[in-house]
């Protein structure tokens, strides 16, 4: 079976002073070996929480309410802390957004790389060091051996992120989650990092979940896409399907915001989605996008709208008929 991770019905609630925050609601998707899934959405849509939930790194105030997270056959929520810690770093790894603060300032790069390997494998220091040097080189860091003795503050942001990537690969995990790995970096470095990730995946064939708000990144690197809005997945599909024939009005709205050479007429106003994301605190009834949706109707309000499968690997959470939706989009 080539499915590495299967998420079904994941819901995460966070206790806040004013009530209960539904950070993630009925999130479902899957990732295969060698596949890159991009979870895309605006800030606060729940994509980072989803990533943390998979890793078991939710903050203390968060309560995972329900859902299955099956990693290579094992349901993660069923595991106790010890077993979960054994999987982290070994079977699944995570790359965080800010490389400046994600590395411990008082330990050398080598120390931080080697400790992952030594923790999960019964190996000696020498073996760990060799693997660290190999991965640093593979991650495009010149003079890798000399870097081992350096401290994080001596490296630039781009180099630090490469170190993070190397660190996640130390034990050859089957799943890597990257949470906005390029957002904190210069634009020129962004391209290099993405290229590196794609390259590594081709070689190692791990499953890659890339969380981002940048559709440009999605267009470049994704095999499949899951669009999130207000804590819910609203559409899934392949990259081609999402970009050429989006079905959910939110996805369509997002794409309309991007000027497309050839399609967008000069002088016409840039697209925008009016209104604001509804507050995630308190119970959520019906479609959460309805007060910003140009096709909203009465059926959008009262009931639970499920993530319905349109075709294999393609799903949408909307009451509209997919065909009608596609026609709406083409009419622009």
């Amino acid at each position: 079976m080539s499915t590495v991770l299967e998420v079904s019905g994941l819901s995460v609630e966070i206790d806040v002073p004013t009530g209960v925050l539904h950070a993630a609601d009925d999130v479902s998707f899957s990732v295969d070996r060698g596949e890159t899934l991009c979870i895309v959405g605006e800030s606060g849509c729940g994509k980072t929480i989803t990533a943390l939930a998979i890793m078991g790194l939710l903050p203390r105030s968060a309560r995972r309410v329900s859902g299955r997270l099956v990693l290579e056959g094992a349901n993660l929520p069923d595991l106790d802390n010890q077993d979960l810690a054994a999987l982290r770093g070994e079977r699944m790894g995570m790359i965080f957004q800010d490389p400046m603060t994600s590395l411990n300032p008082v330990f050398t790069i080598g120390e931080q790389l080697e400790e992952v390997y030594l923790r999960h494998r019964k190996a000696g220091r020498k073996e760990a060091r060799e693997r660290a040097v190999y991965l640093l080189e593979r991650s495009g860091i010149p003079a890798a051996a000399s870097r081992l003795g350096q401290y994080p503050h001596q490296l630039s942001g781009g180099l630090r992120q490469r170190v993070m990537i190397a660190m996640t690969l130390m034990c050859n995990p089957t799943l890597i989650i990257a949470d906005e790995p390029t957002t904190a970096l210069d634009v020129t470095i962004q391209a290099q990092i993405l290229h590196l990730l794609a390259d590594l995946q081709r070689e190692v064939q791990m499953a890659l979940i890339l969380v981002t708000h940048d559709l440009g990144i999605v267009a470049r690197i994704a095999d499949r896409v899951a669009v999130m809005y207000a804590g819910r997945i609203v559409e899934t599909g392949t990259r081609a399907e999402i970009f050429s024939t989006p079905v959910h009005p939110y996805t369509q709205g997002l794409l309309r915001c991007i000027p497309a050479p050839g399609r967008t007429r000069r002088g016409s106003p840039l697209g925008a989605i009016g209104g604001m994301v509804p507050s995630p605190i308190g119970p959520a009834i019906g479609c959460l996008f309805r007060n910003r949706c140009r096709y909203a109707r009465n059926a959008c309000a009262p009931n639970e709208i499920t993530l319905a499968e349109i075709s294999p690997g393609r799903a949408c959470r909307c009451v509209l008929d997919p065909e009608e939706s596609r026609r709406n989009f083409e009419a622009q």
């Binding site: 604001m276 509804p278 007060n291 909203a296 009465n298």
Partner: protein
């Protein structure tokens, strides 16, 4: 629900997101904060007692009644309601001395805090605002002061100048300003880089005006927190100096002095040291809790 109803939700959301005014938020927090309320109540009580001392004290604190010396408090054997907290080695009513002692502690605490606050805050704000050589010079002064053992210097100064309420207050005020300087300096440095300060400078406002109208209001919260801390330290300092005999002089009633006077009898009449010591302890706790409370209420993000 139709679409037109749905779109009006936008306006309501905006208003709901604005939230109540900061002062209202602080007042709400203050009402719920136990330490703050406790500290405030105790401090106000002690202030009231000190101010109304002549009305509240049953006796003159200086009058000695040798036949009535070393009477225990009312709850012990041989205690009487006429002298609720008993009498000391010279037959002076303990309750009255305690009440008047509050005046000493509060006076020293309050004024020493003000003096050290003025000195330290000025140095700190100037150093933090101007930076560069001015800052280096000021930090040098602060370091020099920190290197000197405050208690020893205070003791030496009092022995030369003579102990009294005034001299102790002044000496403590001129010695305890270091924390003000350090905290105000770092607070000013943080405020300094804010855009509204840069904007004021760009407009050409004079440095003095900027300091008073842009910097000061933003650091005053931390100043209050440090002030409570320093007030507590000044009270403890006066008590220690008086205990060692180099503070307020007898026959003035100072809680620290009372502990020292009661020391000779403490094995048999522990109340002589327990009562004044507990008063110092309670007052200092109250002031510290008050300071913690002010910090929590005005800047809960810094709370830990």
């Amino acid at each position: 629900m139709n679409v037109s109803e749905l779109t009006t939700l936008d306006g309501m959301e905006d208003a709901a997101l604005a939230g109540p005014a900061p002062v209202v938020v602080m007042r709400r927090r203050a009402r719920k904060h136990f330490s703050f309320l406790f500290g405030l109540v105790v401090l106000v009580l002690v202030v009231v007692v000190a101010v109304l001392a002549p009305l509240l004290a049953p006796y003159d604190p200086y009058i000695q009644e040798i036949p009535r010396r070393l009477m225990p408090p009312v709850w012990a054997d041989g205690g009487m309601w006429t002298h609720m907290l008993g009498t000391d080695g010279l037959g002076r009513d303990y309750l009255s001395r305690m009440i008047y002692g509050a005046r000493v502690s509060l006076t020293v605490g309050f004024f020493a805090a003000i003096i050290s606050g003025l000195i330290g805050s000025s140095l700190g704000i100037i150093g933090g605002y101007f930076g560069g050589r001015v800052d280096t010079a000021i930090m040098y002064v602060v370091n020099t002061r920190l290197s000197m053992p405050a208690l020893l210097v205070a003791l030496a100064l009092v022995s030369i100048v003579g102990g009294s309420l005034t001299s102790v207050t002044l000496i403590l005020g001129f010695l305890l300003w270091d924390r003000f300087a350090v905290v105000m300096r770092s607070a000013t440095q943080q405020v300094r880089t804010n855009d509204f300060v840069l904007a004021a400078e760009a407009v050409g406002a004079s440095k003095l005006r900027i300091i008073f109208s842009e910097v000061l209001p933003n650091v005053v919260n931390q100043m209050i927190v440090v002030a409570t801390l320093e007030m507590a330290l000044a009270i403890l300092g006066e008590a220690a100096l008086s205990f060692l005999g180099l503070g307020v002089q007898p026959p003035t009633a100072s809680w620290g002095l009372m502990v020292s006077e009661g020391r000779a009898f403490m094995f048999f009449k522990p109340y002589l040291i327990v009562i004044p010591g507990s008063a110092i302890f309670l007052l200092v706790i109250a002031i510290n809790l008050l300071g913690d409370g002010v910090r929590d209420i005005t800047a809960p993000e810094g709370r830990n």
